[in-house]
Symmetry: C2
Subunit: 356 residues, 2 copies
């Protein structure tokens, strides 16, 4: 597994100061810990923010900085071509002039800012799609508040897929020890078996394989697919989806030239001596993938959406409203999300196109 080496290399790379399009970062719920993570990370590692611009009204950050007692320099960017002076945090407000970005009460989400939150994400994504930005990094949203305001998506991932006209994207979580990709995400566990089908699985395997190659720079990705049932069904004694749904997708993927093993029993697949053989492990449902990666990580896993026409990474935590403004938050996942987006943008050698 070459993950650690790649990570170290990126961390020590001399960041380019050429005027390639910037990375964009959205704050998500402005009353949550998104602004804290950005400010604390910038304070500790300003070099990480070179070539990166925050897509948000500046007061969502400046007021939080004041609350945290952080002295720092902001630079207002009127376009994404702006040059951010050294030591400054660049902010670009994507909101149209007629959209009020109402005040934020730290720790208390409000439907009054919901439309602005969604618009920031949408316009940042559109900037990525138009080529004005190279990647999108997102801080967590408060889903319940957005839903009540008419946001009809389970989360960022589905919203961004919709914006870019993609019927299927793949949620990946990556850390320095493991990468997992999910065939299903936010749905009741009892519905998972019913929505799996071979055609979609094959499509998701192709997306995962393609992006590992072109965004992660892995020449020959090695994949494994988890069984759905205990012991991968144990010869159909504990379920038959392995035989009827998963195996046909794997066989087709193998015929198309992918290196993929499975369906394999999920419990042993993540043990240290087994997971090391794979560049990514594809999982049938949310917790099958998120449990092992979060078991191993101390909050440094990154959420990546594969299959979009642009690069998107995210922190792996929520809004943690109760800790917003306290200064007591870990910004390690934010740093990893920025690192990962930059790393992926440097591997974008080919246009990302899928047949969906």
């Amino acid at each position: 597994m070459q993950l650690s080496n790649v990570k170290v290399a990126i961390r020590h790379a001399t960041l380019s100061s050429s005027k390639s399009p910037p990375l964009l970062l959205t704050l998500g719920e402005p009353a949550g810990i998104g602004p804290d993570c950005v400010l604390l990370a910038f304070q500790a590692h300003p070099e990480l923010f070179q070539g990166l611009i925050i897509a948000a009204p500046i007061h969502w950050l400046s007021e939080r900085a004041e609350q945290l007692g952080i002295q720092m320099n902001f630079h207002v960017c009127h376009s994404l071509e702006a040059t951010v002076p050294h030591g400054h945090l660049g902010c670009w407000n994507p909101l149209p002039p007629d959209m009020p970005s109402l005040p934020v009460t730290t720790g208390t989400s409000s439907s009054a800012t919901a439309a602005a939150v969604i618009t920031c994400i949408e316009l940042a994504a559109r900037a990525c799609m138009s080529g004005d930005a190279v990647a999108l990094i997102t801080a967590p949203i408060e889903k319940a508040v957005l839903r009540d305001s008419g946001f009809d998506f389970p989360g960022h991932t589905e919203f961004l897929a919709s914006l870019s006209g993609k019927q299927r994207v793949v949620m990946m979580l990556a850390s320095d020890q493991l990468r997992v990709a999910l065939l299903t995400t936010h749905m009741p566990l009892k519905d998972v078996a019913g929505v799996l089908n071979s055609a979609n699985i094959l499509n998701d395997l192709k997306i995962t394989h393609h992006d590992l190659k072109h965004l992660f720079g892995i020449a020959t990705p090695r994949l494994a697919l988890c069984g759905l049932n205990p012991h991968a069904g144990e010869q159909q004694h504990f379920g038959d989806e392995e035989m009827s749904i998963l195996t046909p997708a794997i066989e087709q993927a193998q015929q198309e030239g992918m290196l993929i093993d499975g369906p394999l029993p999920a419990d042993t697949l993540f043990s240290p001596n087994v997971r090391c053989h794979y560049d990514a492990i594809v999982c049938c449902y949310h917790d099958q993938g998120l449990i092992p990666i979060k078991t191993l990580s101390f909050g440094d896993a990154v959420n990546i959406t594969l299959g979009l026409p642009f690069i998107r990474t995210s922190v792996d935590h929520g809004t943690a409203m109760d800790r917003a403004g306290s200064g007591k938050v870990s910004y390690s996942s934010m740093m990893e999300a920025i690192n990962m987006a930059r790393q992926m943008s440097q591997h974008t050698l080919h246009e990302v196109t899928y047949a969906d």
Copy 2:
């Protein structure tokens, strides 16, 4: 978390040589790696086998020892009261004289030995129930072969529950980093939501709490219960079993004095900073519990059946038929299973009684 300390203490304890009833160990599938694990563990750590007797025909071990080129001394025990000489591996053949224990071909399971395998387990369990032995340690069985021979149980756990007249037992996996207990075990994933009910969950929580107290010596066990659905249902957006089934069981358990948190999102519950707060994490289904413990372990987790009227531990691996007789097997889980059974037997201060 006091797990590591307990383990170290046990490993360095001076083992008693008094004539208390022995620990019993069954070989499971004699053509698999069960005999290898026993022989290699004995060769490396004979002190581990003090006060322990193998419940099997001696030739299932002696022939494998010859195959592996291991020189060792066996002692044939005609009863469980026998004294095993120092440096000898004690063997007690529980099979009745009229039951042939047919020859074993290493690496090839056979229906010819199936009845003998089952009888060894049954009579060893009965010895535990009668007080002639203090704990049962089991090596893995080849379930498919036993099933074809009329063994109508998914595995050891259900067989031992049936033998002891228990309607519900709880499968626990324990390592030095984590303990997980399962509400359901070997069934298709799609059926899990349908079989969960508050009464059974409450019962399983009581069993887990009771055995942590009386077999593990934890005065005030702290439990957590995983949600079934992603994000524990996220306010019923992704499933309602948390509200309708899990929460009522937790509230009742709390009213009865147990320290238990939940239902909590399963993905974050196993992260290092969260799992350290609990003596055991109770999981809704097989992979929810086995994935995190095997993600962390290098084959040293122990399978424990809670709620039986006797102590039972097992290795956490299968028969690995292809490696039987090769000498290339890890016996660490076997050593942990023996250690754990001994540790638990030393905490058996109270009779184990449940109201089922």
